[in-house]
Symmetry: C2
Subunit: 283 residues, 2 copies
C-alpha cells in the first residue's frame, strides 16, 4: 500500500493514519474532511501528509471511511464510483447493516470491506488521535465473502499488523450484539449524567462527592452527539430492544426495594457479580 | 495516637491501616473481623500488627468502623459502651443518617465522629487494601458539632495528613446527594451487566465485542452485594427517588427514538455533554 486516503480525520481515522505511518514504510496518507480546521490540525499533527480530493481517489490503494454512520452511507456509493479497480474501500462505523445494505447491489460491492474496530475513547477530532489505539482490540468484519479476496486479504493482514484480533460475523448479528455491549452503555451513561445534573444544580456537590465510581459510569456521556445520534438511528430496533430490557430490569430492582425485598436485591447483584470473570477478558 | 483498632479489615479498613502506619510513627494497629481468614490475611500483609478484641477496646485511642452499614449500626452502640473516655470512634460507611440516628441519644455520642471518605475500588477484602487510597479524596464529615472538639480535631488532622479534602454536611443532605452521585451509579451498572449477561448467553460474544466503554460502565457491577444491599436498604427513600428519575429519563430517550425524533435524541446528549467540565474536577 503506497497511498491511503482517510475520509474523516478524527479520533478513529486519525489514529488509523498514525498507525499506518508507523507500520508501512513510505506510505503516503491523504486526508479528506468537511471540517477545514480538522484538516489543518491533521496536517500540523503529522497525521496526514497532504489534503486529498474526491476526484483523485483513483490514486489510492486504500480508502478509509471514518465519518459518522449517516454520512458514511451517503458517501460510500459515491466513493465506489470514483476509485480504481485496484482500490479497496473500508468503513469503520459502529453499525454495519445499513452500510452493507446501501451498497448490496453496487457494481463495485466487491471492492468494499465492512469493518468495525472496537476501539475509541470518549474524545473526538484529530487532536484525540493516538498511536496504538487499535492494538489488542477486536475488529469485526462483516460479509467478508462479498469482498474480492485479493482486496480483502492485504487489509486483514494490515489489521493484524496493527495488533487487532479479527472476528467475522453477519452484519445483522453485529448490530444486534453491539447494541448490548456498546450502544446501551452510551445511553445508560448519558441518562445517568442527565439525572444527576438535573438534580444537582449546585455543581459543587457533584464535584466534591462524586468518586471514581461515578466518573467511570458517566465517562461515555462525554461522547460526541454528532457521532452517536446516527448510530442510534441506524440501529433503532436493536437499541430500543436493549433499552426496554434495561428499563425492565431497573424497574424490577426498584420494585424489590419498594417491597423491602432486600434478599432479592442482594441476589440481583450476586448473580451479576459473575461479570468479573467476563470483564477479565476485556481489560 | 498510639493504638488504633480497625473493626473490619477489608478494602477500606485495611487501606486506612496501611496509611496510618505510613504516617504515624510507632502506631500500633489492631484488627477485629468476623472473618478469621481476613484477620490472618491482614496480619500476613502487614495491615495489622495484632488481632484485637472488643474487651480491650478501652486501650485504643481511635476505633475505626469499616464494616457494612447494617453491621455498623448494631456494633457502634456496643463499641461506645466499651471504650475509654479518651477514645474516639469513627465510621466510614456510605450512609450517614441511620448511624447518626442510632446513637443520637447515646451517653457517649460526643465520642463518635461520622465520616464518609469517598474512596474505594470495586474490589473487597484485605488483599484489596492499598496505600494512598485516600489521597486527594473527599471525606464528608456529618454532625461535627455533636462530637467533642478535643476528640474530633486530631482525627480531622489525621484525615488531612492522609491527603483528604474535608467537607461538612448534615447527615440527611449527605444521604440525599450520595444517592445521586454514588448509589445510583451502582444500580445502573449492576442492571446494565444483568441486561447484557441475560441476552448474551454465549459469552464469547461479550468477550470479543465489548470495548473499554462497556468495561467502564459495568465496572461497579463487580462490587460486593454484601456491602451494597444494606446501603440501599438504609438509603431506600433517596435511592428510589433517583432510580425513578433515572428510569423516567431512559423512558423519555426511548420514546424519542420510537417517534424518530432524533433531533431530541441529539439534544439530550448535547445537553449532558457539559458533564465533561464537571468531571474534570473529579479525575
Amino acid at each position: 500500500m503506497k497511498q491511503v486516503c482517510i475520509i474523516g480525520v478524527g479520533l478513529i481515522g486519525g489514529s488509523f493514519a498514525l498507525d499506518l505511518k508507523q507500520y508501512i514504510n513510505g506510505v503516503r496518507v491523504l486526508g479528506i474532511d468537511q471540517n477545514e480546521a480538522h484538516l489543518t490540525d491533521a496536517l500540523e499533527l503529522g497525521i496526514i501528509d497532504q489534503i486529498g480530493t474526491f476526484d483523485r481517489l483513483m490514486d489510492a490503494d486504500l480508502v478509509v471511511l471514518a465519518i459518522p454512520v449517516n454520512a458514511a452511507i451517503k458517501v460510500l456509493p459515491q466513493v465506489l464510483e470514483l476509485i480504481a479497480d485496484h482500490t479497496v474501500v473500508i468503513d469503520m462505523g459502529s453499525t454495519k447493516e445499513a452500510i452493507c445494505e446501501v451498497v448490496s447491489s453496487h457494481p463495485r460491492r466487491a471492492q468494499f470491506l465492512a469493518t468495525h474496530p472496537i476501539a475509541g475513547t470518549e474524545f473526538s477530532g484529530p487532536s484525540a488521535a493516538i498511536t496504538g489505539l487499535f492494538k489488542n482490540k477486536t475488529n469485526i468484519i462483516c460479509e467478508l465473502d462479498k469482498t474480492t479476496t485479493a482486496l480483502s486479504e492485504p487489509v486483514l493482514e494490515l489489521f493484524k499488523t496493527l495488533g487487532m484480533h479479527l472476528r467475522f460475523m453477519p452484519a445483522k448479528d453485529h448490530d444486534k450484539h453491539i447494541a448490548y455491549v456498546s450502544h446501551l452503555s452510551h445511553i445508560s451513561s448519558f441518562m445517568l449524567g442527565k439525572t444527576v445534573i438535573e438534580k444537582e444544580k449546585n455543581e459543587r456537590d457533584i464535584f466534591d462527592m462524586a468518586g471514581s465510581g461515578f466518573e467511570s459510569t458517566v465517562r461515555l456521556a462525554k461522547s460526541s452527539p454528532a457521532m452517536w445520534t446516527p448510530i442510534f438511528e441506524q440501529n433503532k430496533a436493536n437499541v430500543i430492544e436493549t433499552l426496554t430490557e434495561y428499563i425492565q430490569n431497573l424497574n424490577q430492582f426498584k420494585s424489590y426495594m419498594e417491597n423491602d425485598d432486600f434478599e432479592a436485591v442482594y441476589n440481583e447483584m450476586k448473580n451479576t457479580n459473575h461479570i468479573k470473570q467476563i470483564l477479565k477478558g476485556i481489560a
